[in-house]
């Protein structure tokens, strides 16, 4: 597994840059991950998405449905793409410290 230095800590990431140990995630790490995704500033709107993703993941062990994510955060899919250019799965989940979604999503 490759390692990356994010916010001053060395963290294992997979080939797509998703962190492997969710315990190591914190807000600073999120900011560093955001930079790898070309998101230079994490606004309140970004945090709304990130927090919901994390909360759902902690409860259910998986990222939420895209439709539910949109409904709960009040953003359309297009707005989520505007916030996270590589989309909810590859972009938002990565910054939120979730593992890379698998299967046909």
């Amino acid at each position: 597994m490759p390692k990356m230095v994010l916010a001053g800590i060395e963290i294992e990431v997979d080939e797509d840059g998703f962190i492997q140990d969710p315990e190591k995630w914190n807000e600073e790490v999120a900011k560093a991950l955001a930079e790898t995704e070309g998101v230079t500033e994490l606004t309140e709107d970004h945090w709304k998405v990130i927090n919901y993703l994390r909360q759902y993941y902690q409860q259910f062990g998986i990222a939420p449905m895209i439709r539910k994510l949109c409904k709960e955060t009040g953003f359309s899919l297009k707005q989520i793409y505007d916030l996270f250019p590589s989309g909810p799965a590859k972009g938002a989940c990565k910054i939120a410290g979730l593992p890379k979604p698998t299967g046909c999503v």
Binding site: D16, F60, G61, M65, G87, T102, G103
Partner: protein, 458 residues
């Protein structure tokens, strides 16, 4: 990532293990693939396709990746097959062993092996080329066989194997959705239907002995929920005895990525799915909107599993909806979908599955302005999501999908002037989502079930 074939990589360095000696293992696995007794799937067309090719180039002129790349030689279907033929001739034919230079046989080196591994993940096995070859050579089939050989030596995209078939067998679905999450999803979908339509429906889960078990591609629940909701509304409106199933019952995901790269993985997944279906004691398995799952259950299963071990019928959700509309079991009003709608033939449902008229009859009944995309049916262009590509995004691979297959599709879409493209395959949906985003196209995609549910008259 290191360049081994072109500017893209489908397989990581970790997966390729270029510093190890792999050629002898590859040749062993290839030998096995050439033996009829150890290759049950398509041995005959495979060896016939390896034996001849007149290099006429007819295949190339219809191959989406070749055409859209500006006719790059490396993406030419017959040139790709020739990489494998050279190895075949050199190691598995007498003239090739004795006079390699004379018959176009070449030693396989570790570097060539890297390039070969990548090259077989540029073709989506869409088989458009097989349709036009005067000798009926199937370059897509050769690619699939090569993927099998690579898988046998431990080289396969992790999206398809480790996080695909392996995960599906372990968790019941390739998305890794546990039962609690699945039930939360179902509850949410019931609420969404109520919010949207103003009526309540119950979505049955794990009902033993139901007439229909609807198995979706599990990715649909997470990414394309409108398709799942639409299907629920249609089954409810038809008033039939139906159910979905949770991971508690075994496998609740119609996908079988083994179709793309491995008969061994294919068989293991299929057997686990059959066990689940038999345990539930349902009469008919309804394959949701997923192209390769339809190929798996409708055709490949017949070659592998004796009839006594699969005591259920298999139907695509498209076949059922089409029947129900024609019988008048469900009533639809095309005025409810007034926007111009076009349809993209998924390769697996169309060229491989023969479902051309069902989706068209459905869409014409449910949409006011249905428009064909040109070319279509047998000559439909693969969208570029096929054979697993829709979920492969390593490095710049998404860009490859967009700049080749996706480019053609975007042009085709624009020419229709439609504002909705109807799709009946999950991989297509994944690819179109990206195409629409990448090319900023002024339209959206929708599952067929979603459009039908929209048109329902209650």
């Amino acid at each position: 990532m290191r360049k081994v074939f072109d500017d893209y990589r489908a397989l990581s360095d970790e997966m390729l293990r270029s510093n190890e000696v792999r050629v002898p293992h590859f040749l062993d696995a290839m030998k096995k693939s050439l033996d009829r007794r150890s290759n049950w799937t398509f041995w005959l067309p495979y060896v016939l396709s390896l034996d001849v090719c007149m290099k006429c180039g007819t295949c190339a002129e219809v191959c989406p990746v070749y055409i859209s790349s500006g006719r790059k030689e490396i993406y030419h279907p017959a040139v790709r097959s020739e990489l494998i033929r050279k190895v075949y001739r050199r190691y598995f034919t007498w003239p090739g062993r004795l006079f390699p230079g004379l018959v176009g046989a070449e030693d396989l080196t570790e570097d060539k092996l890297d390039a070969l591994a990548e090259s077989i993940y540029r073709c989506t096995v869409c088989r458009r080329c097989a349709y036009v070859c005067p000798l009926a050579i199937d370059n897509g089939l050769i690619v699939r066989e090569a993927r099998k050989i690579f898988d046998a030596i431990g080289i396969a995209p992790d999206e398809l194997k480790e996080k695909g078939t392996r995960k599906q067998l372990e968790m019941g679905n390739a998305t890794g959705t546990p039962t609690a999450a699945f039930l939360d999803i179902i509850e949410f979908l019931e609420e969404e239907i109520e919010d949207q339509r103003g009526y309540k429906i119950k979505i049955p889960v794990d009902k033993k002995g139901a007439e229909y078990l609807v198995m979706h591609n599990a990715g649909d629940y997470l990414a394309f929920a409108e398709t799942v909701m639409g299907a629920a509304e249609i089954f409810h409106a038809a008033g039939v005895d139906w159910t979905l199933n949770s991971p508690d019952t075994g496998i609740n995901d119609a996908v079988n990525y083994g179709v793309f790269f491995s008969d061994i993985e294919f068989t293991e997944v299929l057997k686990a799915q059959i066990k689940t279906i038999v345990n539930l004691g349902v009469k008919t398995l309804v394959v949701g909107e997923c192209g390769h799952a339809f190929e798996a259950f409708k055709y490949l299963m017949l070659r592998l599993i004796p009839p006594s071990e699969r005591p259920f019928e298999v139907k695509s959700i498209l076949e059922l909806i089409d029947e129900w509309i024609r019988e008048g079991r469900i009533k639809v009003d095309p005025e409810k979908n007034p926007e111009p709608v076009t349809y993209h033939d998924s390769c697996k449902l169309g060229r491989l599955g023969g479902l051309y008229e069902e989706p068209r009859r459905i869409l014409k009944a449910c949409c006011k302005d249905f428009r064909e995309m040109e070319p279509n049916r047998e000559m439909s262009y693969c969208c570029g999501g096929g054979s697993g590509f829709a979920i492969m995004t390593k490095g710049d691979f998404l860009k490859f999908r967009m700049e080749t297959y996706g480019k053609i599709k975007a042009e085709q879409l624009k020419a229709t002037g439609a504002s909705i493209v109807a799709l009946a395959c999950s991989n297509c949906k994944g690819q179109f989502r990206e195409i629409i985003n990448y090319y900023k196209l002024p339209l959206r995609f929708a599952g067929i079930s979603e459009l039908v549910a929209n048109a329902l008259v209650r």
